[in-house]
């Protein structure tokens, strides 16, 4: 019943043997104990489970792990700087109060890290559009949008006190 599959996760070669129907999100969480990838809807709408596969941000709840032989996968656990400090967007989220309960946060960190790596000069509207695939129920997006602005070098809305 189980099928072996090998891929690289956060720079480390991993091999697992899982049922073909098992979602990448479940394999990351249950088989590889990388529980930072959160499952919020299992239908590709909330974005909490976002990971980077071969450079692209994808919903791990919409992929089967067995599809990904040979892939390079980065999860939220592998996204900080190599010296262990928060990356630019993570730091901006901290500075701008971009998280409360923290459940949607890994998906937002992964999505925006991937987005900012590919988009050197986004506008304010571009950033909001880039965030539109990630749902958050705590923050009203205020701190998240500001974090994206900070990370992209755009002016932060100071009515939100996160920059203090």
């Amino acid at each position: 019943m189980s099928t072996p599959v090998e891929f690289t996760v956060n720079g480390t070669a991993r091999s697992v043997s899982v049922e073909p129907r098992k979602l990448l999100s479940d394999v990351l969480r249950e088989d590889l104990h990388l529980t930072g990838t959160h499952v919020g809807c299992e239908h590709g709408a909330c974005g909490s489970c976002t990971v980077i596969v071969d450079g692209a941000a994808v919903r791990s709840c919409l992929l089967f792990a067995v599809q990904l032989g040979g892939a390079e996968i980065t999860t939220v656990e592998g996204i900080a700087n190599v010296d262990g400090t928060l990356n630019t967007f993570q730091q901006a989220m901290h500075d701008q109060h971009g998280l409360q309960c923290g459940f949607c946060t890994p998906g937002i960190v992964v999505s925006m890290t991937a987005y900012l790596a590919d988009h050197a000069d986004p506008t304010d509207d571009d950033l909001k559009d880039a965030l539109s695939g990630n749902l958050c129920r705590c923050t009203g997006y205020q701190g998240i949008v500001n974090a994206a602005r900070q990370a992209a070098g755009l002016p932060v809305h100071v009515g939100s006190r996160g920059g203090h």
Binding site: E19, R21, K22, D26, E30, L34, T35, G36, T37, H38, V39, G40, C41, E42, H43, A45, C46, S48, T75, V76, E77, I79, A80, L86, Q90, M93, H94, D95, H97, L99, Q100, C101, G102, F103, C104, T105, P106, V109, D125, K128, D129, L131, S132, N134, L135, R137, C138, T139, G140, Y141, Q142, G143, V145, H157, V158, G159, S160, R161, G162, H164
Partner: protein, 786 residues
């Protein structure tokens, strides 16, 4: 737009400062620990078979094929679990009448027994090696249900033609007839203006991004029940699990860890979690985990906001409110938490910031064959939704500007303390008028009116709306009365404080250390909050109801001051100085003016534990302090005013929010960044409830919004930058704190609805019913008659 200048915050080294959150790094890096992250050796997984019929008789359940599936360990139905339940009620609401309490409950059965009463009603519970197999087994459980007509909608239910709960004999769970007072009728008859409206808000649901979840491990040999759960209140769940199983309460441990949002949905244990507790107690062979999927969350986790209010208001010729009659209707679904009814609270708060000489209230709450009602951020907030829209409707009818009409009637500083006509007392620290004027100034009403006129000349529809409200924060009675801080300075001189609270977004791991460090005189990183684990936390209310700043903060502050006192006594004795001559800075006690004569905490703390002879005579060893705090009032009132501007697209019915302004008074802010974060989250939930979110049932009781493609949450592009103003009047509670966690969700719906109304009123459109999405607004515009 900058944050407005405010009454100066009495910022200390920590209290009043926008300290960045101590809990962030683990959450930003994927190292939080939510319930589904917990994996125990040998753990098995639960899935539910749920009803796809709203009301019907179960004629047979066949679990044979499911039990035979490899990997399935047990399939339980009502016959297995329900008879084992000892008691099922909630500490916060008290026992049911048959056990001496006053709270009405729906029938309390974990699994559907003999009949089903809503789509999503749990019928059977499968335990299997993993969730995939458990769901396969659910498909193999053969349930035959004979459908009956579903009771859907408040008006249908109130007829009592079909009964949701046969045990109750009626669909009406809560009812108070409106008193008949001829003098008031006469007053209404003689009034210059009498205006009546019926306002409706639509069923919405909390939608924490983390669905519900629970792991239960029963060790039959030790007799211990250990639970990991996505809960807002570990004390409440510990007591619930003990009552359900009959296990002695001290043998039950509940651990919350990080919780992915609650907003009221995770306050009280529901039937689903109770079924898992009962299944683990019966099964006993392994820990079992249930992680809800989003579809289950949308159809089976309790919901809110299915409410209507009839308001009739009498007003003098010059715009003074003479009185109101209000009748509150609510749909509490099938299995609400307790009665689910919020009528008495909503009517008590209805006067809000205005001087109503008299109000005649009445209410009816009904069961329907839909998922039950529970608390959702500001559970009584229909009063503000109705009152604040009514203020605009009345102003329009009598030809007054809505803000001017509010000015005539609002409670002002000189009126305080003020007892409203429902006998609620606003102390001298409330500031509804000040917040309203601040919000109006931030909006710059004259400029907006020019902009609006210019836009209208171009055929564009702009509008502005205001909402003002009083928030009864930190409700302090029963289980909610108080919280305790169990504070310990370790021998290293660092401090831990244990509380009943939990981490589901409130930032308490930062704000409680801010308070402790401020009052103890140490560095914030030397203070650690331990919460959400009954093994270390005191009995307390948990986190919810805008209480933590006031009640948990008050307990932490009291404990810190007691700790400080003991430390000073030890140091004074050791340094042969008077306590009055000592000061504490950066964890060092020193003699004022003689900084060389000093003792750091790391020297005092081991002395307290290990050098009894060095302590003042008679002093108990150790640095362990407890403090339980109850605020002076049953409510700690905060208040706020919201103002917003919108543009409505006449061709599409789309609403674009142009500006959103909140002026609030939550007393002494512990952390302005956290305050503004709480406001923003509430505001956007409120916006969602007007523009996007509606949980729709069809006439047969089928839920029609079962994914995020149907139940629409606000996302980043729809939300403007929110502007904040702060008025600071210290509350009577220690520290001057007031709760404000719910206010955003209370004020936003009517402020936004009023802005839409203002944009459309000249077309003859006067909305009274949510949602106000594109299709509803197009209908209103197309059917309007000026």
């Amino acid at each position: 737009m900058a944050t407005q200048p405010t009454t100066p915050v009495t910022a200390g080294r920590y209290v009043g400062q926008a300290v960045k959150r101590l809990e962030d790094p683990r959450l930003l890096s994927g190292h939080g620990r939510y319930v589904d992250d917990v994996q125990l050796p040998g753990m098995l997984h639960v899935a539910f078979v749920r009803s796809n019929v709203a009301r019907g008789t179960i004629t047979s359940i066949d679990t044979t094929a499911a039990r035979a599936l490899p990997g399935v360990h047990a399939v339980y139905t009502a016959a297995d679990l329900n008879p084992r339940v000892q008691m099922f009620w909630h500490t916060m609401l008290g026992p049911p009448p048959e056990l001496g309490g006053v709270t009405k409950y729906p029938p309390t059965r974990p699994l559907a027994d003999g009949d089903v009463r809503f789509v999503g009603d749990p019928i059977a519970l499968v335990i299997a090696d993993n969730r995939y197999i458990a769901e396969d087994a659910c498909d193999l459980v053969d349930v035959e249900i004979e459908s009956l007509p579903a009771v859907i909608g408040i008006w249908e239910a109130a007829k009592d033609e079909h009964i949701v709960h046969p045990e109750k004999g009626t669909n009406i769970i809560d009812h108070m007839a409106m008193p008949e007072v001829p003098e008031i009728d006469a007053m209404f008859a003689a009034a210059a203006h009498v205006v009546s409206r019926r306002f409706r808000q639509c069923r919405a649901t909390n939608v924490p991004m983390e669905p519900r979840g629970i792991i239960v491990q029963y060790d039959r040999w030790a007799g211990d029940l250990q639970i990991w759960a996505a809960t807002q209140s570990v004390s409440e769940w510990k007591a619930s699990a003990a009552r359900l199983t009959g296990i002695a309460e001290p043998r039950v441990r509940v651990i919350a860890g990080d919780v992915g949002g609650g907003f009221g949905q995770k306050m009280m244990m529901t039937r689903d979690e109770a079924a898992v507790v009962m299944a683990a107690h019966l099964f006993a062979a392994a820990p079992i985990k249930w992680t809800e999927d989003r579809r289950e969350n949308l159809i089976a986790a309790n919901q809110a906001r299915e409410e209507e209010i009839d308001v009739t208001m009498a007003v003098t010729a010059d715009g003074h409110i003479m009185g109101a009659k209000i009748y509150f209707w609510e749909d509490v679904g099938t299995f609400p938490s307790g009665s689910g009814a919020t009528g008495s609270m909503a009517m008590g708060v209805f006067p809000g910031p205005y001087k109503f000489p008299v109000i005649l209230p009445g209410n009816t709450a009904v069961f329907t064959n839909t998922v039950g009602k529970q608390a959702y951020r500001g559970p009584w907030m229909m009063e503000t939704v109705a009152r604040e829209q009514m203020m605009d409707h009345v102003a329009h009818e009598i030809g007054m500007d809505p803000i001017e009409f509010r000015r005539v009637n609002i409670v002002r500083e000189e009126d305080l303390p003020y007892t409203n006509c429902m006998t609620m007392v606003y102390d001298e620290s409330v500031s509804p008028n000040e917040t309203m004027e601040q919000a109006a100034a931030m909006l710059d009403v004259p400029s907006f009116r020019s902009l609006q006129a210019a836009a209208r000349a171009e055929g564009r529809l702009l509008g502005m709306g205001m909402a003002v409200y009083m928030e009864p924060s930190a409700i302090a009675f029963g289980m909610l009365s108080s919280d305790q801080a169990i504070m310990r300075m370790d021998p290293s001189g660092k401090v831990q404080v244990a509380m009943s609270t939990g981490n589901h977004g409130h930032s308490l791991e930062t704000t409680i250390p801010q308070i402790v460090a401020e009052h103890l005189g140490c560095d914030i990183t030397d203070v650690v909050l331990i919460q959400g684990d009954t093994a270390s936390s005191p009995v307390g209310p948990g986190t919810g109801g805008s209480r933590s700043a006031v009640i948990a903060g008050g307990a932490a502050q009291t404990a810190a001051l007691r700790m400080r006192d003991k430390i000073l006594q030890i140091a004074a004795h050791a340094m042969e100085a008077s306590v009055d001559d000592l000061e504490i800075n950066n964890s060092v006690v020193s003699v004022k003016g003689t900084p060389t004569k000093a003792m750091p905490f790391f020297q005092i703390a081991p002395m307290a534990y290990m050098m009894p002879e060095a302590l003042p005579p008679g002093m108990e060893q150790g640095l362990e302090i407890t403090a339980r705090y109850r605020p002076p009032g049953q409510f700690t009132w905060s208040n706020a005013a919201h103002a917003c501007t919108v543009e409505v697209d006449q061709a599409t019915g789309m609403v674009k929010i142009l500006r959103y302004i909140v002026s609030e008074d939550c007393g002494q802010m512990i952390n302005p960044m956290v305050v503004e974060g709480q406001i923003a989250g509430g505001v956007v939930q409120g916006i969602g409830g007007v523009l996007f979110e509606e949980m729709v049932y069809d006439d047969d009781g089928n839920p029609l919004a079962t994914t995020f493609l149907d139940y629409l949450l606000p996302s980043a592009p729809e939300i403007p930058d929110i502007e904040y103003g702060h008025i600071v009047k210290l509350s009577p509670s220690i520290g001057g704190y007031k709760g404000m966690g719910e206010g955003g969700a209370i004020g936003a719906p009517p402020a936004l609805a009023n802005a839409i109304h203002d944009a459309l009123a000249h077309l003859g459109v006067h909305p009274t019913r949510f949602p106000l999405g594109p299709s509803q607004l197009l209908d209103l515009i197309n059917n309007a008659s000026v």
